[in-house]
Subunit: 208 residues, 2 copies
DNA sequence: CGTTTTGCAATACGTTCGCATCGTAACAGG
DNA sequence: CCTGTTACGATGCGAACGTATTGCAAAACG
């Protein structure tokens, strides 16, 4: 599924996705340890141990590379979530909300890259749109999970249904996600232990 | 109080604080509309309508300028807080927690600069220390306000005192501040209305 | 008035940047 | 084999960068 056919020739077979991914990963490394200011084609090329020409070949411009790194980050998080497809709503909710808490160096890298993009999104509309879409998706998924969880509890005692419940679920979702963002930052800068952050999120999820 | 005496000469009186502040304000403008990547001595000089030489004269190096902008931002927030010194603990608590929610363009600028520094702090230890100290201060102040508020309520019914209460107050403070950070970001990227964010914080403060 | 020191503009310099260009090795299809 | 196309390393270029340097106007002090 990773070879393409199109009318014409196709010399020198290489796996484009693979090559692009190598470069994007090197980009993340550079962002994680130097910040987004430290991103230059030369630095990324050095980190990926490839030539500058290769990066130009696959991404064309620095802008495009940085943006590709952003969408790749979002998709990677999305992929991680889909692996929990068979778990109970409450478990999935906790995953959505606490996945970003950095527990090890790898998680730290991911989240510091993510924060770099968040800051960039303030002044960069393309990045902003990618992150906004991701956030909207997470919010909607949270609402769905909260409603599913509530439905599984409400066998006996019927609760208020309809718009009120929808509104409450939306507010719950927003509060959970906003809290998770704030806690993530504090863990990242080592003001808070990962376990404490997760415990706070668990207790918050538990109150739903 | 803004003229200094020291043994020796002192030609050409100018207000150093004032000059520094003009430049720092221009730095904030540049950060707010171009991000921290857009900060160069030339850009800041243009925004302040002064020469590059002046910036060098007052700050020496770009590093020092950026760091001065960070400490100035923290002090400015601190100054805003001190104006509420005579209000009730509950009011002050709400202020600490919701002051950063951007309500207008000026607030938007302040908070986008603040987020730029947050991202920078991940890879820059001097900035990290300044922000860490500010965060610690805010957290301690929150704990104090929560305890003061509780004490004012607990005339009749005595509550659990001592370590348990301290621990609970600390966790409350952390949750409030983390939630405020997350909500602030969402308002900044226009995923949330300022009024909604403030309402959520008010209801959270109200439950203490 | 003359000396000395500060405040700052101007500019020169070496580095690093993104990007365009060119050359070539490798391979698919005829 | 030959031809056409791709992959991509190498290099050059102009712009922008941070900083060091230089020079001079203005003002305080003797």
């Amino acid at each position: 599924m990773r070879t393409y056919w199109y009318p014409g020739r196709m010399p020198k077979v290489v796996d484009h996705e693979e090559r692009r991914w190598e470069i994007v990963y090197a980009l993340w490394l550079v962002i994680a340890e130097q910040g987004i200011e430290g991103v230059s084609l030369r630095h990324v090329a050095a980190a990926a141990d490839v030539s500058m020409g290769r990066i130009q070949h696959y991404f064309g411009t620095k802008e495009a590379l940085v943006l590709a790194g952003c969408t790749a980050l979002v998709q990677s998080a999305h992929g991680g979530y889909q692996e929990t497809a068979e778990a109970a709503p409450r478990v999935r909710l906790l995953h959505v909300v606490s996945q970003q808490i950095p527990r090890d160096d790898a998680g730290r890298m991911g989240v510091s890259v993510w924060y770099a993009y968040v800051a960039k999104s303030i002044n960069h509309s393309a990045v902003r749109q990618v992150l906004a879409e991701a956030r909207r998706g997470a919010e909607e998924e949270c609402v769905r999970l909260i409603q599913a969880h509530r439905a599984s509890l409400a066998d006996g005692a019927r609760r208020a249904a309809g718009d009120d419940a929808d509104q409450a679920a939306l507010e719950q979702a927003r509060r959970l996600l906003a809290l998770a963002d704030g806690l993530t930052l504090r863990v990242l800068v080592r003001d808070l232990e990962p376990a404490e952050a997760v415990a706070m999120l668990e207790s918050e999820v538990g109150r739903i």
